[in-house]
């Protein structure tokens, strides 16, 4: 698409028996009909789109993370199941297996109670209401656009470095905004997205090979030894 400069390509199943199509794909058929596309008669306009995050929070077979009493399960976790590319329909299985294991593990930890733990209340005496909400919508669009262009399906060192510089700038702005203004749902999501984007870029920069879903023009070959990319936070341990 980048090469041809077209907005989309098409997926065509109109050569199949309409009855087969509507009975096997009723959900897709109905949704497309609502938009004026009859998939039994005409092709479907499509683009590629980000679909699944294979990596995530390091967690063990019980879903336990590096932090005691904290579990991560499902797509947010990194269990080692998916490797460099998830196989279709293994992700719901992973949700079920690790959720079941985590529930069992929690129920084995008798005697853990934080009922009386001293936790300070949320302090918002230092913040005011924002009059600059445009920064959120602007940074939101900027982030998702450069991630698509520079950290998408085909990567290079230059594109990743360019993305890294931009994400650091956004991070400064949002951190400052976060500490000065009352929080909103959009601000919280943007703050998280920028951080995860930074972690994705850092991970991609470290991988000096093309493997699975990570493809870079600068290192098209596969290294002999396969190893995970593990990032360690400043507050680890």
């Amino acid at each position: 698409m980048k090469r041809l400069g077209c907005d989309c390509v098409y997926l065509d199943i109109s050569h199949k028996d309409p009855e087969f199509v509507t009975s096997h794909f009723p959900n897709i058929y109905n949704r497309c009909i609502e938009l004026g596309i009859d998939i039994t008669r005409s092709p479907i306009p499509i683009v590629p789109a980000a679909h699944y995050t294979c990596g995530g929070i390091v967690s063990d077979k019980n879903g336990l993370t590096d932090i005691p009493n904290l579990y991560a399960i499902g797509e947010s976790s990194f269990t080692g199941l998916h490797g460099a590319n998830r196989m279709a329909s293994n992700s719901l299985l992973e949700c079920m297996v690790f959720a079941t294991a985590a529930a069992q593990h929690i129920q084995q930890q008798k005697g853990t109670s934080n009922a009386d733990a001293l936790i300070p209340p949320w302090d918002e005496t230092q913040v005011t209401n924002s009059d600059e909400d445009v920064i959120i919508s602007h940074n939101w669009e900027e982030l998702r656009r450069f991630m698509w262009d520079y950290v998408g399906i085909v990567r290079t060192d230059k594109r990743l470095q360019r993305a890294r510089r931009r994400v650091q700038l956004l991070q400064q702005e949002v951190t400052e905004y976060y500490s000065n203004y009352r929080i909103s749902s959009d601000l919280l999501e943007l703050r998280n997205l920028i951080l995860v984007a930074d972690l994705i870029i850092q991970s991609a920069i470290r991988r000096k090979e093309s493997r699975g879903l990570h493809y870079t023009l600068d290192y098209p070959e596969l290294l002999v030894d396969a190893s995970d990319t593990i990032l360690v936070p400043p507050s680890f341990g």
């Binding site: 306009p45 797509e75 196989m87 079941t100 995860v196 991970s203």
Partner: protein
């Protein structure tokens, strides 16, 4: 203003298949809170079209499912974790069926009904149990209906988790998790959720990209909160892009399942010429 405070034994952040399965597996003596940012069914589970991979066919085997997963993972799967996960697949399907999930069946030559299994990319057998092309919705609705009968689980809708609370963050020795702060969207106030155990079931982060097949909730909240709290993260450079997402000005985030190509749909250019043959003969 005082911070409103809650206490539960288990705080689950996220209400997809993972979070609901965990809640359903906790005994009635556990007081559970489940936070969801939006309506409970606005996660990726609800939109999953494909199905659940499981070894159910008599000609299939655990070893084959394991081998296919390892090949797809291109040398980075942890083989012990793959085996551990795959070996539990029949038990997980049984559990879902017992809860009332209606997977598609078909009539066999001898007149009996058996589950219809589809074959998806990378699988060398028919192995994917499904409910038409809306498996996630069937699973999500069934789990949610069952969960509504569990009086020990309180669902907090329109609560956005802000950050995890750990011992060292509040000046205590150790780094155990003590709960989380969450923004109540109805009041605009941050509330304190104290808990013995906290579970992140917040889904992925595909929304970092301009085009995504995921619902709006996939903003990597759990990954970001865990990192800030001191957790390591792994293999985040591996982001899967779905080749076929509907492109239409009036809609976003609608996936066209790969099963269409599995059943013979062809990729074509705007002028009608097929193009995948140029890249791959499969």
């Amino acid at each position: 203003m005082n911070t409103q405070t809650h206490y539960h034994n288990v705080l689950i952040i996220g209400s997809g298949a993972a979070g609901m399965t965990l809640a359903l597996n906790l005994g009635p003596e556990y007081k559970v809170a489940m936070l969801c940012k939006d309506e409970p069914n606005e996660g990726s589970t609800y939109y999953a079209q494909g199905g659940v991979a499981a070894v159910l066919d008599e000609y299939d085997s655990m070893d084959s499912h394991i081998q296919d997963t390892l090949i797809a993972g291109a040398g980075l799967c942890h083989p012990d974790v793959v085996r551990y996960t795959v070996e539990q697949s029949p038990a997980m399907i049984n559990w879902l069926v017992e809860l009332g999930v209606n997977f598609d069946t078909e009539t066999q030559a001898d007149g009996s009904r058996e589950f219809h299994l589809t074959k998806e990319g990378g699988h060398s057998h028919r192995r994917v149990i499904h409910a038409a092309d809306a498996t996630g919705r069937e699973i999500a609705l069934t789990l949610a209906a069952r969960l509504s009968t569990h009086n020990n689980v309180a669902i907090y809708q329109k609560y956005v988790a802000v950050d995890l609370i750990t011992q060292d963050k509040v000046g205590q020795a150790g780094n155990s998790c003590l709960g989380a702060y969450a923004l109540n969207l109805a009041t605009g106030q941050v509330e304190l959720f104290r808990a013995d155990f906290v579970v992140l079931a917040t889904g992925g982060a595909s929304k970092v990209y301009l085009y995504t097949s995921n619902p709006d909730t996939a903003s990597g909240d759990g990954i970001a909160m865990a990192w800030r709290a001191g957790c390591r993260v792994g293999n985040l450079e591996f982001n899967q892009f779905h080749p076929t997402c509907l492109y239409h000005p009036d809609t976003k985030s609608f996936l066209i399942s790969e099963a269409l190509r599995g059943e013979g749909a062809k990729l074509i250019l705007p002028d009608g010429t097929p193009f995948m043959k140029k890249f791959d003969d499969r």
